[in-house]
Symmetry: C2
Subunit: 502 residues, 2 copies
């Protein structure tokens, strides 16, 4: 009895969870007792994956002697059209029992976390099992030694950049703000100051732009570890996409389950941040925590609690760490969307008269704090030094050199389609709905369309006249512009103008 089927791509994106589709009349489903949601092992040559089974009805789109693979399963198995896969029941993952004991309230050691991380990367654990792990660690259920163990296990599962014992600076922002694109400016200043800062950033997942998307509007960011090293050795810093580098690779899997569950887990947040920093080879790390009602960190108190744990785990890992608490109430700069944020970044680096002051000041605060943290730093003097490096043009020059080293600087483009949104009446701008402003930018095409997004023309506290432009919509196609406009016009209070008497 053969247990092989012809593999075909299902053309279905199930995000990261591998899914295999088999015909209900398939002899393997019958004989192996496979049913919907069964975990199935598929072997192809020396490669294998474990996928979740969905059963396709007879007469639907799948032949009885075929098995279709979701996009992630097809890629993970490295299948090609015509390949025949061998199907079997997978061994139960060893780490399932560790997730179970954690769920029962036991403590796990590093070996336990390492087994869970390794089975996660092999997708031996289903999304249900990952959700169970995340839940078992939720709230304060990871103590400090467990957080250290999880951080080391996550770091150890990927590569760690070796900088030969030199001082490596790094920064991380816990929970972004729209337009808060300080990283390229901070990296340029720190590198110009003669320090090493190999910065890896993420692309947008739910926001209109991630730092990697914004940087990509100015230079290539998809560098491998060797290219990253060349850039940093030559220019002292880089701003590259971390996704290709396998630094703490299990983190993406945990985040994909944590996000929909929306669990606050101090231990997992700390392990997520610090495992990536440790894997990047950082020795001195500044953690920026914007605090605000709609930010990830909602209160000073929450920031302090998180700070205590992150500091303790950093010490255990031998990282020098400083916390920077900033205002997380309003969007930063003018642009929302990759290119429009890049334009703000360049305006600050170029000392343009109209450069957004709030973005400049935030970048100087962070760069200054990071310079204070460095081994040769003198507390309180970093900010003056940062300003000098920015105002002298040294930071701009270094940023251009970094872009060239990453593959060449390009001036951010401009969108083909633009339209201004005007104030319906006069008033004082008292609030901006970050969530809906971000949604309008996404409807306009950001981050998929690099030039798409929003350019704010007013700031909190501005007096606005009736008919005065509030913001510009930017899009690549007339359709997307119309779509974003229709939504914007259907909404009230995206920007709130206090009515004023005569």
């Amino acid at each position: 009895m053969t247990d092989t089927l012809a593999l075909v791509p299902a053309g279905i994106d199930t995000y990261r969870q591998p899914v295999v589709y088999m015909n209900e009349d398939c002899h393997i489903c019958r004989s192996e007792g496979f049913a919907a949601q069964t975990r199935v092992r598929i072997d192809l040559e020396d490669r294998w994956i474990i996928a979740t089974l969905n059963v396709v009805g007879r007469g639907a789109w799948l032949d009885v002697d075929q098995a279709a693979l979701s996009a992630s399963a097809w890629a993970a198995l490295g299948a090609r059209a015509g390949d025949k896969g061998a199907f079997s029941h997978p061994e139960p993952p060893v780490s399932a029992s560790m997730i179970r004991s954690k769920a029962y309230g036991d403590r796990l050691d590093q070996a336990g976390f390492a087994a869970i991380v390794s089975d996660t990367l092999d997708s031996r654990l289903s999304d249900l099992e990952l959700a169970a792990f995340v839940t078992a660690c939720a709230g304060e259920r990871l103590d400090e030694p467990e957080t250290v163990a999880l951080t080391r296990a996550m770091q150890g599962a990927g590569q760690t950049l070796d900088w030969g014992g030199r001082t490596i600076l790094d920064k991380h922002c816990v929970g972004g703000l729209p337009g808060n694109r300080t990283t390229p400016i901070v990296v340029a200043i720190i590198a110009a100051a003669g320090h090493l800062i190999p910065k890896t950033s993420s692309r947008a997942i739910t926001s209109p732009a991630g730092t990697a998307d914004t940087m990509e509007a100015m230079a290539p960011v998809a560098l491998d570890a060797a290219a990253l090293r060349r850039v940093v050795e030559a220019e002292g810093g880089c701003i590259v996409w971390g996704g290709g580098l396998a630094l703490s690779p299990a983190d993406d899997h945990f985040i994909r389950v944590e996000r929909p569950l929306d669990f606050d887990s101090t231990g997992q947040l700390v392990a997520s941040v610090l495992s990536k920093k440790a894997a990047a080879g950082a020795t001195h790390v500044l953690i920026d925590m914007p605090v605000g009602p709609t930010a990830k960190v909602r209160s000073e108190k929450a920031a302090e609690a998180l700070g205590v744990r992150v500091s303790a785990v950093s010490n255990a890992l031998g990282l020098n760490l400083a916390l920077h608490i900033s205002d997380g109430i309003a969007p930063v700069g003018r642009g929302i969307g990759p290119t429009l944020e890049a334009i703000d970044v360049l305006a600050v680096l170029r000392r343009a008269p109209d450069a957004p002051a709030d973005l400049r000041e935030r970048a100087l605060d962070l760069a200054g704090h990071l310079l204070d943290l460095a081994p040769d730093g003198v507390a309180g003097q970093g900010r003056d030094r940062a300003r000098a490096l920015l105002d002298s043009g040294a930071a701009e020059a270094r940023f251009m050199a970094i872009c060239e080293a990453q593959g060449g600087f390009r001036e951010p483009g401009t969108a083909a389609q633009r339209i201004e949104i005007h104030a319906p009446h006069a008033g004082l701008l008292t609030s901006v709905d970050n969530r809906r402003i971000a949604r309008i930018a996404k409807l306009a095409g950001a981050p998929r369309q690099k030039c798409a997004g929003i350019r704010l023309l007013v700031r909190l506290g501005d007096r606005v006249d009736e008919g005065q432009p509030l913001y510009e919509l930017h899009a690549e196609t007339a359709g997307e512009l119309a779509y974003a406009l229709a939504y914007a016009e259907s909404q009230t209070g995206v920007l709130t103008l206090s009515e004023e008497g005569p």
Copy 2:
């Protein structure tokens, strides 16, 4: 801008979780920012569901102006070809915050559990959220008051049968044994004794037969509440499929997530069992716990711990409960598979000389214990009364009357295909691998094919000669027989014969 798409059946079985498939170029995905794994609300007339999105690539099998629904989503929405569904972002379920606080270690009250149960039934909660709930309750994380609250919430979400204050007996077996089909015999005896016992049972999920499958080999079991009542009022008892009655309907959703996670949760096990018994209107319940290394309850100690909780919660619910601990080491009777188990049941009821003694003795133990528990019972006398009712033919007569009332008795059929498996050498039968014996029965077609399965011809402890038949394989088709045979012949130690010297 329209937010409707033509609905088509995807013909994909994702088990119970509703999934919607949309083209990556679909204008709604773009404009709403829907991506793989997004939770999507679909409205059709006055009905709606919440489904998880899978994105189908351009050029694959789905048009850009269509949305395909998984089997469970199609059924839940009651869609018909040509319907147009309206798509939107669902409100976050209110119970998500309760799952979160339970995960953080807080205690929940009945209102909290009721919200979770209600959102579960509306499929407002994703499988990830259900897994989080199950994990947050795992081990001993539900205390006794929470277990009572969860039980009441689960019962309250479905219908409860009202028997006008009369005494209602019931039994439940925690974790089945292959062939352990005592229920039809016990119900017949209890009803013959003049008691009311409205028994609801489940179909097989992972085993070759459930009690409902076995009973269905002799009479219809898919009765609604009104029909169930008619049968019980007329004959005192019934053995029907519980799936159609909406007694504690959330239980199936929790079980579907608990099974793959394989979590032991005392609180959820107790709530699952007792919410169904309370919903059936039971006043006096006997819980049978087979204890054995491969049974659900592995040790006397585990049985006692479970017993303490189940008794305490029963008291809080006003249920009179007794525990019955039985031997869970070996399969019971000869048949494995719906019809073959039905033949064992009838042989016991008919007092056939070759009726399996172990099944008879287990049924008498349980019926006796239940008669002792009844208000008019006298401790220790129940078993003699049970034996008298069985030996006099009163139980058989009552069982036939129940079958007629349920829609008509039918004599179990015989499989078209049979083959004997012979002993490879002489020896003493020292063990039976329940797991692999069950798998062979499933390969032969059980429970899908009612007559398929295995008939054991030897018992533990029998001396067997070389070439003596060990068991019969029964199947409906030559192909399934060959398939089961090929697997059986590829295995050693399904039945272990100790080698013996000359």
